[in-house]
């Protein structure tokens, strides 16, 4: 059983009279432990595809099996539960809560999973240690560098032991050196913990870290190539 399987997904947006076909008949299979880069120019549908994979958006038609269960047409709250337990998000703009300490940001997914305060704190600290931020628990986002903020976001994605991390341009706001550090962290998590990483990027250098690359153009998958490990 594949971890993720999309079957003939279409996504149509209505902008007034105009209908935009953002995804056309997209069928992709992703196995556990893969490290995938989704690439394409802007407007190619890669972000839409990411939103569907992330259960933030529902496809207009087609089915999306996550661990063999069709989640394409679940209601808001069911999708929220799936995001909470199965998916970790890393965004270009970090999307941390300001005025909230690093450890509390990491605790956030557990808060909505009804986990007791003591366990939350423990697991959040452990997740921060995993991403190399031990001792920064009480720092607020504005006291951390961009790379550190993105590490907090990765810790937040890890903390509920989600099998999948969805990273949308995770290095878009970072300099080259920090970008490489973040990518190396994702590679390490992928290799050591068998976490499936799905990355959206338009930078070739960043995509180099992946082992499989899916290219989108005009809402259609135009190529899907697996790179032989050198």
């Amino acid at each position: 059983m594949a971890l993720i399987e999309t079957r003939n997904i279409d996504k149509i947006y209505s902008l007034g009279d105009v209908e935009v076909n953002a995804l056309k008949d997209v069928s992709v299979v992703i196995e556990k432990g893969e490290f995938i880069a989704i690439m394409g120019p802007s407007g190619s549908g890669k972000s839409t595809f990411m939103n569907v994979l992330g259960c933030l958006d529902r496809p207009t038609s087609g089915s999306y099996l996550l661990e063999g269960i069709d989640v394409a047409h679940r209601d808001r709250d069911e999708l929220a539960t799936i995001r909470n337990r199965k998916l970790g998000f890393v965004f270009q703009g970090f999307n941390l809560l300001s005025r909230t300490s690093a450890v509390e940001n990491v605790e956030l997914p557990m808060l909505y999973d009804g986990i007791a305060a003591r366990e939350r704190r423990q697991r959040a600290s452990a997740a921060l240690a995993t991403v190399g931020l031990a001792g920064r628990e009480d720092h607020h986002p504005n006291q951390l560098s961009g790379g550190q903020q993105q590490r907090v976001a990765i810790a937040r994605a890890l903390v509920n032991q989600a099998p999948i991390i969805l990273a949308d341009e995770p290095t878009g706001n970072l300099d080259t050196k920090t970008s490489i550090e973040i990518m190396e962290l994702l590679v390490r998590l992928n290799e050591e913990s068998r976490i499936t990483v799905i990355l959206v990027t338009h930078e070739k250098d960043i995509a180099e870290f992946s082992r499989r690359r899916i290219f989108f153009r005009d809402g259609v998958v135009v190529s899907d190539e697996t790179v032989k490990q050198s």
Partner: protein, 409 residues
């Protein structure tokens, strides 16, 4: 599902971020709750005063006064005619089944002397029924007896105020005072009844047997004349029957034909006072209702601020949704935030309201009564306002699209 303590701490943090804004929003609720409590305190005190007086005159009391005299076409006012007699009082007692007690009154003003003290006050001649009808207890000594009335004994019963003024710390029972130079033995002192609604001191009085009053103090050319009578009906329901029976009997005794005016009047004081008690209660409700309008305005203030807050925090809502917050997690967060605003405002408002009532009674001299009910009502109402006006912003927040919300700048 998120647990409540976590939501409360999230909400408290959010409120602390905008301290000034939170404080101003609360101010609306503080003023509203404070106004409700202060207004109810004023209104409650007014109706309490009236109901205290109702119980001080006794229950189911009718008063009968003689009619007005007419001198050359000028009517002189109720009580100027000397038409009521002791015999009338006795007849009422005997012949009206709805009447349980009758106390005749013949009163006047006299100078009292004890030792080197003197005091001018109203002296009322009556019978012991007066004290049972008005449920008036004795604090010292005893009430004079029917025997004292029959024999026109020179005994007297002092009101609290008179006792204090003539005797100070001395026990008056058994002492002899002079009323218009006639010596009277004090047999007892009445308990205090306080002021009537007109501010008249009900304890500034001396009671003596009615017969003694007629023979020794206020004797007139018209023997047996009395100034009024207190009549107690057997029950509240029988007051109308008693009023009718007394009127019929007195008409018959005074030979008044069907077309003639009565030479006496019967007043149902309890009824009049109950009506004014009702209107005082209405006034209280009205004051409370006006004050609760300000509470409502405070609630609209909360809704306004919560709507602004939801818009400002769109991105935060998006993040929470992305990591798994469900519809009700978001709703509860904002409802509880509004609830905290209104409840803290409510607590401060209670303090503010109680303080205002205190200040009104100390500075303006108004009577105020803070009833626990009004505090609970105002505080509870502030909570309801918080939930009611917090719900719409919370509902709006919960319907945001997570993708849109995450992109919000």
């Amino acid at each position: 599902m998120i647990n409540v303590p976590s939501i409360v701490s999230i909400s408290l943090r959010a409120l602390r971020v905008n301290k000034m804004r939170s404080a101003l929003t609360m101010l609306g609720i503080i003023i509203g709750v404070g106004a409700v409590i202060a207004m109810l305190a004023v209104g409650t005190a007014a109706s309490k005063k009236i109901s205290e007086f109702i119980s001080s005159i006794g229950s189911n009391i009718l008063m009968v006064f003689p009619g007005a005299t007419t001198a050359g076409g000028v009517r002189m006012g109720a009580g100027t005619q000397s038409t009521l007699t002791l015999a009338d009082a006795e007849a009422v007692q005997k012949e009206c089944p709805a009447v349980s007690a009758v106390a005749p009154v013949l009163n006047g003003v006299a100078q009292l002397v004890y030792g080197n003290q003197n005091w001018s006050t109203g002296v009322s001649g009556t019978t012991p029924s007066m004290f049972t009808a008005r449920e008036w207890a004795i604090s010292m000594g005893r009430v004079f007896t029917d025997q004292d009335v029959r024999s026109a004994s020179k005994v007297c019963l002092l009101g609290q105020t008179v006792g204090d003024n003539l005797f100070g710390a001395i026990n008056p029972v058994g002492e002899v005072i002079r009323i218009k130079n006639v010596p009277f033995t004090v047999v007892g002192v009445l308990e205090s009844k306080g002021q009537d609604p007109g501010g008249h001191d009900q304890d500034d009085v001396v009671y003596i047997p009615v017969t003694t009053a007629q023979k020794k103090l206020f004797g007139t050319s018209f023997p047996g004349m009395i100034r009024m009578m207190y009549i107690q009906a057997v029950s509240l329901e029988s007051m109308n029957a008693a009023e009718r029976q007394v009127t019929d009997l007195l008409k018959q005794r005074h030979h008044i034909g069907p077309m003639q005016d009565n030479d006496f009047s019967v007043r149902n004081l309890t009824q009049i006072l109950q009506a004014s008690e009702q209107s005082a209660k209405m006034m209280t409700i009205l004051l409370g209702a006006i004050a609760s309008v300000s509470l409502l305005v405070g609630g609209i203030g909360i809704m306004n601020i919560m709507l602004v807050s939801v818009t400002e925090r769109t991105r935060e809502i998006g993040i929470r949704m992305a990591v798994g917050a469900k519809t009700w997690d978001i709703r509860l967060q904002f409802v509880i935030e509004a609830l905290i605003l209104s409840l803290i405002g409510g607590i401060i408002g209670v303090i503010f309201g109680v303080a205002t009532a205190e200040i009104l009674s100390v500075v303006a001299g108004w009577d105020t009564v803070i009833s626990p009910g009004s505090v609970v009502l105002a505080f509870g109402f502030s909570g309801v306002v918080g939930i009611f006006f917090g719900f719409y912003p919370a509902y709006k927040a919960s319907l945001l699209d997570p993708i849109e919300a995450l992109r919000y700048e």
